[in-house]
């Protein structure tokens, strides 16, 4: 749809000598020239480096059969993931001038697999948002409808893949930031179990929720990227010590697979057409559906934001203008802090720091942060009960399709509610994937969201791949 091959197709073609990396890079370059100035998907592009790397790849050998191999495959990286020697702006003024002296673990692994990094993609400032409008580099537009947002916060990654600015991309998902933009742009967005992918080098937003995830054209591509970047990392103590299980993308749905329909999500959904689009493939394929109820899901946005904002207030304390990034020199330390941070952060980031600081302060931490923690544990228990009845859980990815630019920028609550279906799995640390429904709603894509028990990432990808084939 973006005119580019998938990772799987391109890798095969390169192996066979039917394609050249330089040709793909040239194609991407053309797409960027055509769309980028309107879409604003990238913060920084490295096309010359990409071309040089593509030439090198073409001159060398494409190690056939060696999986996973990404030699010569152009990938975009969300600009809150560090690449050595390059800026990492997080779309914030406060990181003006900062160059990362190191590669994030996921970047190291992509580079080791031979991938070509085309550029760093735009995002909501520090990944805080659901529309990619809070970026200090300007909003990102949805290539499918330029009046609409691409979703967020990984809107740049999704938009870049959608218009053919990259074959695939990495995003990050804290409360839905990979899945929701994938859904808005008609792509696949995969959030693995918390702990599957190293967060080392992913600039922290809410550490207990952040996960890197691929945004791709197909589930197969998500599986390829996942298998390259997932697995234990000594640099991230919260990674799961075991390597991910092998996958077999047969396209077959195992007999007896049961899908739990998340009752509250569908009941609360206002647009029935989204419900229909999400349900249809399961009905078509005759997959066994059971209704599961997780009443706590309804409180997920409140709990998610309390936890995330509390962590934000802590994680963003380091941006003080002292060691790197933007410093506004004033007389005295306090004024330097106030002015550097005051001018460096945008409104949404400030809002979250303030609320989070309040939520952790003496006398309030029990009412807010600790209550949210208890909620989180209770929600995980409800998920466990649901997985007694079903192998995978089904919901729409978002309550709406892509909304219009500016529609929610002055209504933070409405913006926060975009996360209502994506936040629960993040809170429960579960693997979760969004795949595009075949039916569109008013010409806009809707996302089918599937959730699996923790660490069943491979099974989830196998199943989602099969559903994608229906």
């Amino acid at each position: 749809m973006n005119g580019l091959p998938t990772i799987a197709e391109l890798a095969f073609a390169l192996d066979q000598g039917d394609a050249k990396a330089v040709e793909v890079i040239a194609e991407i370059r053309k797409n960027i020239e055509t769309h980028e100035s309107d879409v604003n998907a990238y913060v920084n592009l490295y096309q010359n480096e990409a071309t040089a790397q593509a030439k090198e790849a073409d001159a060398g050998e494409y190690p056939a059969g060696k999986t996973p191999d990404l030699t010569g495959i152009p990938i975009a990286i969300k600009d809150n993931i560090c690449v050595r020697g390059w800026p990492c702006t997080c779309a914030s003024r406060i990181l003006n001038g900062f160059l990362s002296p190191y590669d994030a673990t996921v970047v190291k692994r992509l580079k080791a697999a031979g991938a070509i990094i085309v550029g760093k993609t735009n995002l909501d400032e520090f990944a805080m948002g659901a529309s990619s409008e809070t970026s200090a580099c300007g909003p990102v537009k949805n290539p499918l409808d330029m009046e609409r947002v691409p979703g967020g916060s990984s809107g740049g990654s999704a938009a870049a893949v959608a218009y053919g600015g990259a074959v695939a991309a990495l995003g990050s998902d804290t409360g839905g930031s990979v899945r929701q933009p994938a859904a808005f742009c008609g792509l696949v967005g995969f959030r693995p179990s918390y702990g599957r992918i190293s967060r080392y080098g992913l600039v922290a937003f809410a550490s207990s929720l952040d996960q890197v995830g691929p945004i791709t054209q197909t589930v197969e591509d998500a599986a390829i990227l996942y298998s390259v970047i997932a697995g234990p990392d000594p640099d991230d103590s919260t990674t799961y010590p075991q390597e991910p299980e092998e996958m077999d993308l047969t396209g077959q749905i195992p007999r007896g697979t049961k899908v739990g329909v998340m009752k509250e999500c569908f009941t609360d959904l206002q647009d029935r057409r989204i419900a229909d689009a999400v349900m249809r493939p399961f009905a078509d394929a005759g997959i066994e559906l059971v209704e599961v109820s997780l009443p706590l899901v309804r409180l997920s946005v409140a709990a998610y934001h309390l936890l995330a904002m509390s962590e934000v207030s802590s994680n963003l304390a380091r941006y003080d203008g002292i060691r790197y990034g933007r410093r506004v020199e004033k007389l005295g330390l306090k004024d330097t802090y106030f002015t550097s941070r005051g001018q460096g952060f945008g409104d949404e980031v400030k809002r979250r720091i303030l609320i989070g600081t309040f939520g952790l302060s003496e006398g309030y931490i029990d009412a807010y942060y600790n209550t949210a923690l208890r909620y989180r544990a209770a929600l995980a228990t409800q998920y466990e009960a649901a997985f007694e009845k079903a192998d995978f859980l089904l919901s729409p990815t978002a309550p709406t399709t892509a909304f219009k630019l500016g529609e929610r920028t002055n209504d933070p609550l409405a913006m926060y509610l975009s996360d209502v279906f994506t936040a629960p799995a993040a809170l429960a640390a579960l693997p979760c994937i969004s795949i595009p429904a075949k039916d569109t709603v008013d010409g806009l894509p809707a996302g089918i969201q599937l959730t699996a028990p923790r660490w069943k990432d491979s099974q989830l990808l196998e199943f989602a791949h099969a559903v994608e084939q229906i």
């Binding site: 991230d236 103590s237 963003l316 304390a317 931490i365």
Partner: protein, 496 residues
């Protein structure tokens, strides 16, 4: 508050609790792999992690955890099999992340105690937890510079209960704690280098009052002397305020070393809200029972080493000072000598080497811990400047034992040997200090003395044999102290 009481009516009691931050003797930092080297060129022992760059994550240093457990066990604490990391937030240019990783509601260890040597009193230890240090600020006239080398260096915080009731107890507590940490190799505990930072909190109350008074906390105490002076100062201030009927406000003070004054740093109303919350980047700290057992095995009983006459220096074996102390006292060594051995490792090493050369405990304590130490005190020298090798000290003691040297001769010889590096035997001959054992010379001197003191000889012959001591003394001075008094006595007895 009734103010009718005159200041002589009330006597006050001081209540002290102490927090100690001790730098753990690891090679690398608490949460990254940078070397611990706070003397290095500023900002050369840093990496993205300890600088708090965007995207980095901490990794715990197992060596620091082991040292923390060691300290906790030595203090009789229960080690928690699961403890947790927390973030403590405040803004400071020397704190790159804007928070310090520490332990809060689930510390590494709790409920220990430390016995004050000599005082017999036990001070309860509330908790021992691990954390990272901050960087160092240097304030110039126009600008402030920051060195991040110290940033992330591992610390153990040891918190006592408010069981301390006097300056002396505070002093004894800190000295014994420091001794334990050093003996275990947990910390170099050099106070002036900030390896052992003491923060006492002090309150006073009228004797008999149950409720605690309002606390003053003191920071920046860099010597035992400063600790004593600071506490005394805080006590005096508080008593004066109570006498004046003034309300005491909970205050943190900085000790001004130059002015020897307490400078208020902050009062409670403005105290920071650190917004502690669980560190999401680190899983709970799990300690296995087997690890604790393994560390406990390293605690060697003192008897093993004392009876073998060797010190144990291996990193896995260590003796607690209290045990060592008991062992030496049991062996009959005087208390003041025991303290030297327990608190001054270089003296202990020398002492043990003498014992290895079959010098007795009595001889070694007399000639090393008493005489040699006296000589050095006079010369204002340390043991390393003494320049008397163990071998020569052993020779001197042997000469004395064999009657080749008298006690006064030995003392003179030792004083001469100090700082010279000459052999005992050589110098003895050079100085002509050897004991006279030639029978002819002894007889000659004795005859002379007897002839000079006929009345004393008379007394002796009449049965007042005690007077022989006088005659011995006369002979000795005749021979300028170089004779063996026992041989002199025998000769005199023969002649009389």
């Amino acid at each position: 508050m009734p103010s009718s009481k005159s200041e002589h009516d009330t006597s006050y009691e001081v209540v002290i609790g102490i927090e100690v931050h001790t730098q753990l003797a690891t090679r690398s930092k608490m949460f990254c792999r940078c070397a611990v080297d706070t003397d290095a060129e500023p900002n050369t022992r840093v990496c993205p992690i300890c600088l708090g760059l965007p995207g980095v994550l901490p990794q715990t240093n197992d060596a620091a955890i082991t040292l923390g457990i060691k300290a906790a066990l030595a203090l009789g604490c229960e080690v928690n099999l699961e403890s947790r990391w927390a973030r403590k937030h405040y803004f400071s240019p020397d704190l790159p992340k804007g928070y310090q990783i520490t332990q809060y509601d689930y510390p590494l260890a709790e409920h220990g105690e430390l016995e004050l040597p000599g005082l017999g009193k036990k001070i309860r230890i509330r908790r021992v937890h691990l954390e990272e240090d901050a960087g160092k600020l240097t304030h110039g006239s126009k600008e402030t510079l920051v060195d991040f080398n110290r940033c992330g260096v591992p610390l153990a915080e040891i918190v006592s209960e408010p069981d301390i009731r006097s300056v002396e107890e505070a002093d004894a507590y800190l000295k014994e704690l420091r001794l334990i940490l050093k003996a275990l190799g947990v910390s170099d505990a050099e106070m002036e280098r900030g390896h052992f930072r003491c923060e006492p909190n002090i309150s006073v109350r009228p004797v008999g009052q149950k409720e605690l008074g309002v606390r003053s906390e003191i920071k920046n105490l860099n010597s035992f002397k400063a600790v004593r002076e600071g506490i005394e100062r805080a006590m005096a201030d508080q008593i004066a305020w109570l006498e004046q009927g003034r309300e005491i406000v909970q205050t943190t003070y900085l000790w001004d070393e130059k002015a020897r004054e307490l400078r208020p740093m902050r009062v409670k109303e403005t105290s920071a809200d650190y917004r502690y919350f669980p560190e999401p980047d680190l899983p709970p700290l799990i300690v296995k029972e087997t690890e604790i057992e393994e560390i406990k095995k390293g605690f060697t009983r003192a008897s093993v080493t004392v009876s073998q006459g060797t010190t144990v220096t291996g990193s896995h074996r260590f003796i607690l000072p209290a045990e060592k102390r008991k062992e030496w006292l049991d062996k009959g060594l005087k208390k003041q000598y025991v303290e030297i051995l327990v608190t001054e490792p270089e003296w202990e090493r020398y002492f043990m080497q003498l014992l290895n050369k079959e010098v007795s405990i009595k001889e070694a304590s007399t000639w090393l811990l008493n005489e040699a130490r006296g000589v050095m005190a006079e010369r204002k020298e340390t043991l390393s400047q003494f320049k008397v090798p163990v071998k020569e000290m052993t020779t001197l003691i042997g000469l004395l034992r064999d009657g080749k040297l008298t006690r006064p001769g030995a003392k003179e010889l030792l004083a001469a040997m100090a700082g010279q590096g000459k052999g005992a035997r050589e110098l003895m001959e050079e100085m002509d200090l050897g004991a006279v054992s030639d029978e002819g010379l002894l007889q000659e001197a004795a005859k002379k003395v007897l002839a000079q003191n006929p009345d004393v000889c008379q007394k002796y012959r009449k049965g007042k044999t005690g007077v022989i001591g006088f005659l011995v003394g006369q002979c000795m001075s005749q021979m300028r102290g170089k004779a063996d008094p026992n041989a002199v006595r025998r000769t005199l007895e023969k002649l009389l």
